[in-house]
Amino acid sequence: MTSRQRVLDRIRAALADVPADESAEAAPAPPPSAGPAAAEGSADHGYRRSHAGPDPVGQLAERIADYRATVTRVTGADRARAAIGAALAERGVRQLVVPPGFPGELLPEGPWRVLGDEPPLSRAALDAADGVLSTAALGIAVTGTLVLDAGPGQGRRALTLLPDYHLCVVREEHVAGDLPEALGRLDPARPLTFVSGPSATSDIELERVEGVHGPRTLHVVIIAQPDAAVRSGR
């Protein structure tokens, strides 16, 4: 007998108490995707679809800052490019990784050398780089999270992992209020990285130390559309 068969047989024997006509799909899942209530109590456990406040973008900025990351909010591409340039200069970046598909209008000129990933950079080259500049697929306001999905401007996962400094830009229209909404907008078939603040550990006497293996410094630039700013009176 294969181990597969043995384990499945053991499971079926162990579940002798489950009625044969109870189907897996009919059993309850969380709302609202779940459909009607079934076998085990109510499908609607009544948890909220969102805990986001009235200003999700402000909430995102505040909660990212809570993780001791730097947050800059700007309106429009020109100001974003200037803010990015200032941040890179202040950091003293010399070798900057920029993933394929990063929007050209956001890429500032500067004394740094831009490393693309075509052909793919070696691990050593990534390790030696001072920083990486990327976009994000999504921001999640309630948890202060950025999600990278390896799409344009984000590149393969190693790019935003090995350099010690990560400057990530996220557009206001990509801000989701809370996790349920965010997960609904993401494609699980892509490799996803949820980033909430810089790499951190509390393993030594519970004292928080930023950065053990991932980027030790996270700087987030949140970009508002110019016309959106006009609408909201900024």
Binding site: P120, T143, L183
Partner: protein, 490 residues
């Protein structure tokens, strides 16, 4: 029939570890340990309370998490087969392991196939449970733990003592000494003049491990969840060592307990709210990675998922005890437990310490192999209140106590006083005073058989079993009595 009668699940409990009361007595005498633990559990507890209070529907989220786990476990075969299909479709390879030995053999074979002599590892309870590092070492393969705490434990030739912060029993000076002494033997040595500042220690670990990440070709991880419908596997972590392991090597081998499967992608909306807030007391942990099979040009190009039973199906068969399989390993129950706070994790003699360890360990290995653990609790109920998936740990503890007693009775072929008392009325368990009386009577009853703390040769058909070994005597003192006596002491 080639199936082994007795599955090899031995590594869940540490062979030779003393029973809980004995180990706990030693731990209680260690004032440094108690101070570290008190500080750690208190701090994490407060953080957790603050972030769970932020969500006014926390109770509903717990209820949803519990219901989802219940439903999944009731149809585990269905979801595992579905997961296998989805992972395979996405380019992964699924393996099934009935026990620890089999899982270790599968992983060892895969590492060899990849032509590697070393692997980098993401912190994982499942691989600790099966003793994977030791099995790999025997096969001549070095396994490097890359989580800072696990590195401290590994370099210190030590055991983890907490699910979330495994090296919490060590202070900074001890960690500096371990780094100075051991790092050089494994790779890049600790820098000269290393201080005991946590920043300096973290930096030393970063440099030491980075060279391993950069050359690694094979990584081994656990999984916090896997989604049946999509084949997506996920790991939740803080340091980025997980991302390194999941991203840089060519081959990724993930060992996952079969209970970690979830039906749908959208189910993560519940668990990604419950887990970080219950575990580290953060709104979200720094990094969560998910992957679905392999992605050309990004990350490992070979992905293997090992589905591990190792006592889980035996646990599933117990309709009361099976709820322990809902555990998402957040460690909240450890931090609220008055017993854990004073004894620390080592006293439990298992990779799973604390309240969840007291119910999970005996079920995974068989109650007769961890008989003192269901008694390692005051049944105060704090763990139940803290648990994000509402595992009724006190209920399972009481249930397992009865099973321990039954197992003892079966072994002795004698109705002990305790067995009679325990099986007569489950209601006794709800009354601390009556329970204490029953246990006292039981201790007296079973001690009649023992000499010098061991039960020697048994009469009749049990004789063969005791020819080559002595039965441990049931504890002279119940855990509760021991606890009362010891906690009163300064």
């Amino acid at each position: 029939m080639t199936a082994p009668q007795e599955p090899d699940r031995s590594n869940v409990v540490w062979l030779g570890a003393p029973a809980f009361p004995e180990a706990a007595r030693a731990a209680l005498a260690d004032s440094q340990l108690r101070a570290n633990l008190k500080h750690a559990t208190g701090t994490i507890r407060d953080k957790r309370l603050a972030v769970t209070a932020e969500l006014d529907d926390w109770e509903q989220l717990r209820e949803a998490g519990a219901a989802l786990k219940r439903r999944t476990l009731r149809h585990l075969d269905h979801y595992l087969v579905q997961l296998e299909e989805s992972v395979t479709r996405a380019g992964g390879v699924v393996h099934w392991a009935a026990d620890a030995a089999e899982a270790n053999a599968i992983v060892t074979g895969l590492v060899r196939e990849a032509g590697a002599r070393e692997v980098v590892k993401v912190k994982s309870m499942a691989t600790q449970e099966i003793g994977l590092n030791e099995a790999l070492a025997e096969a001549g393969i070095a396994a490097y733990e890359t989580d800072l705490a696990e590195l401290i434990v590994q370099l210190g030739k030590d055991r983890p003592s907490h699910i979330l912060v495994p090296a919490i029993h060590r202070n900074r000076a001890q960690i500096r000494d371990i780094f100075q002494r051991e790092m050089g033997r494994w790779g890049r040595p600790a820098p000269d003049g290393l201080t005991d500042d946590p920043r300096a220690l973290a930096e030393a670990a970063r440099l030491h491990l980075r060279e391993k990440f950069l050359r690694a070709t094979v990584a081994v991880s656990g999984a916090n969840f896997a989604v049946a419908a999509t084949g997506t596997v996920g790991v939740v972590e803080s340091e980025g060592n997980g991302r390194m392991c999941l991203t840089l090597p060519q081959t990724l081998i993930t060992v996952m307990g079969i209970e970690k499967v979830l039906p749908a992608w959208s189910d993560l909306e519940v668990f990604l709210q419950l887990l970080p807030r219950s575990s580290t007391g953060e709104r979200m942990n720094p990094y969560t990675s998910t992957w679905t099979g392999t992605t050309p040009g990004d990350g490992p190009q070979n992905f293997h998922l090992v589905l591990l039973d190792n006592g889980r199906t035996a646990t599933l068969a117990d309709t009361v005890g099976r709820q322990a399989l809902a555990c998402i390993r957040c460690s909240a129950c450890l931090n609220v437990c008055p017993v854990y706070e004073r004894t620390g994790g080592h006293a439990y003699g298992s990779v799973y310490p604390g309240p969840i360890g007291a119910v999970l360990t005996p079920q995974l290995v068989g109650v007769e192999h961890a008989a003192s653990l269901p008694f390692a609790s005051t049944l105060c109920g704090a763990c139940y209140d803290a648990c994000p998936v509402k595992i009724n740990i006190p209920e399972v503890l009481a249930h397992l106590r009865a099973r321990v007693v039954e197992a003892e009775r079966a072994r002795h072929r004698l109705p002990t006083a305790e067995a009679l008392a325990m099986t007569a009325a489950a209601g006794v368990l709800d009354s601390p005073r009556r329970l204490a009386a029953a246990q006292k009577a039981a201790a007296l009853g079973s001690r009649l058989l023992a000499r010098d703390g061991r039960i020697g040769a048994l009469p009749g058909p049990l004789h063969g079993w005791t020819d080559s070994r002595d039965l441990p005597q049931p504890p002279a003192e119940t855990f509760r009595a021991w606890w009362r006596r010891n906690r009163e002491q300064p």
